[in-house]
């Protein structure tokens, strides 16, 4: 038997760990890969049995997603000039013409505005509140913290009706502002708790050094604490965005047109016309995934950077 370090895992256990993690990754990724590949299939390919793994990719699903189309009669179709753009061409091949843009683009934009808007607000307010809870003597601090968290203990559906009535009174129904405020209210409890934990970890000496160096308390917070909390802020922001981005129950109840987000909109694609346009649905799901993935990848650098990176020895 070869001697090996007690703390360093042996090669065999590293292999086993690697295989397990790899297996888990494959299992998690299969549905994603399936959705993404379906989005590039043609209608018949998407429902063929046995399922096609190798197929000719097309952007048909994406074109269908972003446009509304109509089927003209054969003689009308023959009279039309030749298609000029690539998406016209794809549509014409199926005997259809584009009659206008669909509502998906606008719904997607709503999701972006509401998701990122509420995330920004949750982080902005959450950081200030967490700093106050972490550093100042707040009366009834523990009770307040518990109370804040208790807002998350109720299922959304239980409070949906009162909120619906409230929003109608306040004129917030189906508005961007209303949804941003609602998601901020829900996310704030999470962000205060998470950020308080991160800020607690930052030694007070940093701020005290800044206070003595001639900065005000707010400057010390802004210039010294905030950069140190970047890791915590990044991970909290990701959690907040994922919640706001994926939220369905409130969105379906409180929005219908103007401020409707993508989650309640995507299922409506299912029931358009006769058959279900699976490539279009898959295209919507694929596009819907992208912002969260991009956001997470952008913030990954901060997630990986340890909070104890600093010069304080513990």
């Amino acid at each position: 038997m070869s001697a090996h370090s007690v703390t360093e895992p042996s090669p065999a256990s590293k292999w086993i760990a690697g295989i397990l993690v790899g297996l888990y990754a494959v299992i998690t990724l299969i549905p994603l890969i399936w959705i993404i590949s379906t989005s590039f299939k043609s209608g018949p390919d998407s429902i063929s049995y046995p399922p096609k793994v190798v197929f000719e990719p097309t952007l048909e699903g994406y074109v269908n997603l972003f446009t509304t189309q109509s089927r003209p009669s054969a003689e009308d179709l023959a009279k039309l000039p030749a298609p000029t753009t690539w998406y016209d061409k794809i549509t014409r091949e199926r005997g259809m013409i584009i009659s206008g843009p669909s509502r998906f683009g606008q719904r997607f934009l709503n999701s972006v505005i509401i998701g990122f808007g509420s995330t920004f607000l949750s982080i902005f307010l959450g950081t200030l509140a967490a700093f106050a809870f972490s550093r100042f003597k707040v009366p009834l601090k523990d009770d307040l913290l518990f109370f804040i968290l208790s807002t998350r203990m109720m299922p959304p559906i239980a409070v949906a009706i009162p909120i619906y009535l409230m929003f109608r009174q306040l004129g917030l129904s189906d508005t961007h502002l209303g949804m941003i405020l609602l998601y901020t209210a829900v996310n704030l409890s999470l962000s205060v708790w998470l950020l308080k934990g991160f800020i607690d970890e930052i030694p007070r000496e940093y701020e005290e050094a800044a206070l003595i160096d001639g900065y005000t308390r707010f400057q010390a917070f802004y210039k010294v604490v905030l950069p140190q909390a970047a890791t915590g802020i990044a991970s909290t922001a990701i959690f907040c965005l994922i919640f706001a981005w994926n939220e369905y129950a409130f969105a379906v109840l409180l929005t219908s047109g103007n401020a409707q987000t993508a989650p309640p909109f995507i299922p409506t694609i299912l029931s358009v016309g006769g058959g279900i346009d699976w490539p279009a649905v898959a295209a919507a799901a694929t596009l819907f995934l992208l912002p969260v993935i991009i956001f997470t990848v952008l913030l990954r650098k901060h997630l990986l950077r340890g909070i104890t990176f600093g010069a304080v020895r513990k």
Binding site: I212, D213, A311, V312
Partner: protein, 365 residues
Amino acid sequence: MAQIRVENLRKDFGAFNAVKSSSFTVEDGEFFMLLGPSGCGKTTTLRMMAGLELPTSGEIYIGGEEVGMKRASERDIAFVFQMFALYPHMNVRKNISYPLVSQGIARSEVDRRVAEVVRILQIESILDKPVGGLSGGDRQRVALGRAIVRQPKAFFMDEPLGALDAEFREHMAEELRALHDRMGATTVYVTHDQLEAMQMGDKIVVMNHGVIEQFGKPQQIYDWPATKFVAKFIGSPPMSFLEFEGAIDDGGNAVTIGVSRIEVPKSREGRKGALTLGVRPEHVHLSDEAGLRGRVAAVEYLGTTQIVTIETAHGEIKARTASSDAIRTDVPVGLEFDRRSLTLFDANSGIALVSEANEGVLTRG
């Protein structure tokens, strides 16, 4: 630079009284040590002086100006933290220049002053490095640099060598003291290490349970402790005590312990009852003729000297003798004390009785 005066300073945390009515003065240019065991209130006192805590009552004067309720940033002082507290997201140069930037000083002036400090501390080579990868000593130097660059009225240091390893500590202590001598800056330094305090300080305040036990020059405090606490806290090994029932008159110069008469410095006050005689190990001599007898319990070899522990009927005495003296354990010995160096304490209050030897130096807060 400035004189610092603390008057009747008090701090309560809820029901807990951390500092009880302290008063002392730090003269201009002095290296001043706040010494005491952990939890004695020394750090709280320093933090109040720096403006990181607000006093419950009392006044703090820095350069004649009352600053007790002012913001830290308005006191024009620099603070060196035990954990250094270098801004981790900045490099060395930015850390050092940060206090100047807050004052809106021109870029060229900032560069000039940073360069000067860097030269004094000899840290040119690490100037553009991030502080994360620096060694303990370099971090310490950067923290000092950040303090010096401001040219403040006073330096406050909270156990700045506490995070360094023993060997390096010695070296940094010398460096720190040399730096102080060169700049002549008023410095208040908190430590729990009595050796560090004796080695570096011009003056020492010894605190315990929020009370100033004694205040004076290192040698005065070592030779003439004002209380039994100070006698025990300072010195390695500390002062030994003999507990006895006895009496001394005002003007008397001897006490009787058991059957032996022991000469002490001429007393300035009379006392009767439970008394304690304090003696430093170097003032104990082993002598076969002496009346006070004991038995050698242990011998610790320390190189040039050895510490002999002797058990007597009135308590344990430690003696420092040359290590060439052959002393065996379990042997009965007689004890003689150097009479000019003894201190009598009231055994109940722990306060030293005034004698002609210590009357000039007993300063309590």
